[in-house]
Amino acid sequence: AERKALQLRKAIVARRRELLSELSVRKEKEAASRRAEISRREKDEEQKKAVEDAKRRELERAKKEIEAIRTEEAKKLAQSLKAKGSLKVDIEDMENLTSDSIMRLQVEQLEKEKKDLAEAMRVASKRLDHTERAYRKEERPLLSEDYEV
């Protein structure tokens, strides 16, 4: 019975070994496939990322280009306005300005100039009028004297 029990134990052990090795093989297989899956995914992601990066870079490059053109245009505009003498801002201060803002600046400036001109004319007009009226006021008492002479 003892032998029989031993044989049984042996058989169980063998069976266990067999099962174990099977298990490990399976595990191995599973791990391998998992690894493969991961690496595939990683690869995919990398690829995706690369494409996206390229896209982004392309976008950035285009954006930069547009920006550069804009700045160039703005500079040109500013320069032309300056040349005409209608814009009185230093170009160096305006590196970051766009055409739109220059235009806005220009309009603001024109409006301000118009307002200044109107104000200056109003003051000049008052002064001219008041000076003449003051002269006449002070001359009035002298008139009768002049006539009697």
Partner: protein, 701 residues
């Protein structure tokens, strides 16, 4: 220049017996009138009124009265005319005296008072009653206007109107009269008198009641020119002087030796005739082209006064300049200034400093003798002689400066109004005579030896004008191929340039050019600094540009302060448009400019507009048959330089007062306007309600 063609001088009757006696009554008796029955009265009166009208005397049928013979029912062969004033009566008598009404009837006119007097003539002699002493009116009363306003005269249809111009609420008619003048109205240079022109002669008016001041019996007078200080007057008539038999005689009237002459010189104060001259037309230029049959333009003024009223001079083209002493009218030193080929001359004006020095010299305080009169004249190229401009001192006749010029077509002489500079505009031709260009020869007559500066210009100069009291000038130039062949619809392209005297270098330099304009007229403010450029006489363009020469210089009145950049003070203030504008005229203060479209030139939108110096419209009047707008000139201020300086210094204080006055005035005006409008609305509403109430009844009827 004055264009003769503008004035209609047809229907002239040669018979003028001018009687200028003071009368108090306005009733005139007309003898020699046809005897009629009552049925023909209306027709007869209408015809007689028309005959008066033709002679510029305003009489309506209602102003006349026919006495009737009760027995026969017929008129008595005379009638009475009621004139508005005694003056009008005198004029009416002169107008129709001895008028041949029809083959059988000749009119004889007398003042009613005269006939009364003769009829009841007392044989015994009575000492004439001394005329009641009347204080003479203050002829410069308008300067004392409490509101400090200026005046202007307008002539529209037959109506002459004197207007006050001030703030909108202060504008009003000061005086108006129908048929005040028969041709046009003209101010004397200091504004003291208004001259009217009539068939019997010139009349001067003045004072606040616009009473009659003086008359000059020059029949059919067409042009007149006062001396700068209003002491003398020159008149011209197209018709040579005729002295009919029995004409009135005396110092105020022509005598037989004046017959055939056209120009007369008068003393304004006494009304006396000083001397007469024949017209002198310039020789007809054979090259003028298309001039066949066209009368040469009468150069006016034909006589030129020296700025101090001491002399008057006339040129005999090609030969001499004759200078006469005033008031004797004798030829100075009994000889003319002989200048072979002389074409034209101009006296130098008196500057403020010359007047001050004169005053000092009179008071015996002068350090140096005042400057003598200067006379500039020019003669063209002849044979191997170059053309020449000369500046001569008078009466010493010393030649101060002479300049020879070549390839000269024409010279024009422009004195700056202070007598500081003389600009000679020399129109020159190329050797082939194909094109014209221009040199300006500018004489600086306040400096030793009169240095001359030349400004060379490529184009033809159309117009030149010195800034009053300034050292700048403006010119209009053009290289438009249409120049000179102007016709309807042709608008000449021009450039306008401003030049200034550069004191550091002594020369004249271009300040700025305004290219591609159509402006052909420059109008400087009489105070300088502001200038208006206008396109006058065009059917398609009528722009007005308003400019300031010293925009950066706030402290005006003090003259040029620090000039930062050459020409940088020139500022465009505004642009306006007055369609078909024919004239532009600054007020004496330099605050306003009036533009007008005169029916003498065309009949499109006649009328006038007043703008301020920056181009803001103050008022615009479109009036058919509008002919003339002229501001009343003012004499020089009585304030001394120091007084003026004080006023400018204290301007803030004055400004405060004026602002207050203006604000009060304005609220007053708007209150008045609101009240007026409310009244109109109330009237309207009342009428509407009445209509509505009465409407059903009206419909039922």
């Amino acid at each position: 220049g004055f264009d003769e063609d503008d004035i209609d001088y047809s229907d002239i009757d040669a018979k003028y017996q001018v009687q200028y006696e003071e009368g108090l009554d306005n009733v005139v008796v007309v003898d020699g009138v046809p005897v009629i029955d009552k049925s023909k009265a209306e027709k007869l009166l209408a015809r007689i009124a028309k005959e008066f009208g033709k002679k510029g005397s305003n009489v309506k049928a209602d102003d006349m009265f026919i006495p009737w013979d009760e027995k026969t029912g017929k008129s008595k062969g005379y009638l009475f005319v009621d004139f508005k004033t005694a003056d009008d009566a005198v004029y009416g008598i002169a107008a129709l005296q001895e008028y041949q009404f029809d083959s059988k009837h000749r009119f004889y006119l007398n003042r009613f008072t005269d006939i009364e007097r003769y009829a009841s003539l007392d044989e015994t002699y009575h000492e004439p009653e001394p005329e009641p002493y009347t204080t003479k009116e203050h002829l410069r009363a308008w300067l004392g206007d409490p509101q400090g306003r200026d005046q202007f005269v307008t002539y529209r249809g037959d109506d002459v109107e004197i207007n006050w111009h001030g703030k909108p609420s202060q504008c009003e008619v000061a005086y108006s009269k129908t048929n005040w003048t028969d041709l046009y109205a003209q101010w004397s240079p200091l504004g003291t008198y208004l001259a009217s022109l009539h068939r019997p002669g010139v009349r001067l008016w003045g004072g606040s009641s616009w009473s009659h001041q003086q008359r000059f019996a020059h029949p059919l007078v067409r042009l007149l020119d006062f001396s700068p200080n209003e002491n003398y007057l020159a008149t011209w008539s197209h018709d040579p002087i005729v002295v009919p038999e029995g004409a009135q005689q005396g110092p105020q009237f022509f005598s037989p030796e004046d017959e055939g002459n056209n120009i007369a010189v008068w003393d304004v104060k006494t009304g006396n005739l000083l001397r007469t001259f024949p017209s002198s037309y310039p020789e007809q230029d054979a090259d003028a082209g298309g001039g066949a049959g066209k009368k040469p333009q009468m150069p006016w003024p034909a006589l030129k006064w020296s700025a101090d009223d001491k002399y008057v001079a006339r040129v005999t083209v090609g030969q001499q300049i004759s200078v006469y002493e005033l008031p004797s009218m004798g030829l100075v030193d009994k000889k003319s200034i002989k200048v072979d080929g002389v074409v034209d001359f101009e006296w130098c004006p008196l500057g403020e400093k010359d007047r001050d020095e004169d005053a000092k010299a009179v008071a015996g305080k002068g350090k140096k003798p005042p400057r003598q009169n200067l006379l500039a004249f020019w003669m063209p190229e002849v044979a191997n002689q170059p053309a020449r401009v000369t500046v001569m001192e008078f009466p010493s006749r010393q030649i101060m400066r002479q300049k020879n010029l070549f390839n000269v077509t024409e010279c024009k002489l422009y004195w700056q109004n202070q007598g500081d500079f003389l600009c000679v505009q020399v129109d020159r031709h190329t050797k082939t005579k194909k094109s014209i260009f221009c040199n300006l020869e500018i004489f600086r007559v306040r400096e030793k030896d009169f240095p001359v500066e030349v400004v060379e210009l490529k184009d033809t100069v159309v117009n030149f004008s010195w800034e009053p009291k300034g050292d700048r000038f403006a010119l209009v130039s053009s290289n438009d191929p249409n120049l000179g062949s102007s016709g309807p619809g042709v608008t000449i392209k021009t450039d306008v340039s401003f030049y200034a005297h550069d004191r550091t270098k002594g020369n004249f330099r271009l300040l700025r050019t305004l290219p591609g304009r159509t402006s052909n007229t420059i109008r400087w403010s009489p105070k300088g600094r502001h200038v208006v450029l206008a396109t006058v006489g065009s059917t398609s363009k009528s722009e007005l540009e308003f400019w300031d020469m010293d925009f950066n210089n706030d402290d005006f009145g003090k003259g040029a302060a620090a000039k930062d950049e050459w020409g940088s003070g020139i500022q465009h203030l505004g642009t306006a448009d007055h369609y078909a504008v024919t004239d532009a005229d600054w007020d004496p203060s330099g605050r306003y400019i009036a533009t007008s479209a005169s029916a003498w030139r065309h009949t499109i939108e006649n009328g006038y507009a007043i703008w301020d110096f920056k181009g803001t419209e103050q008022s615009k009047q479109i009036l058919d048959r509008f002919k003339q707008f002229v501001w009343r000139p003012r004499p020089r201020t009585l304030l001394t330089k120091e007084q003026q300086r004080q006023i400018r210094k204290n301007l803030k204080e004055y400004s405060r007062q004026f602002e207050e006055e203006d604000a009060a005035e304005e609220s007053n005006v708007s209150a008045e306007l609101i009240a007026q409008r409310k009244r109109l609305v109330d009237e309207w509403n009342a009428w509407r309600i009445r209509c509505r109430d009465e409407l059903p009844a009206a419909i039922k009827k």
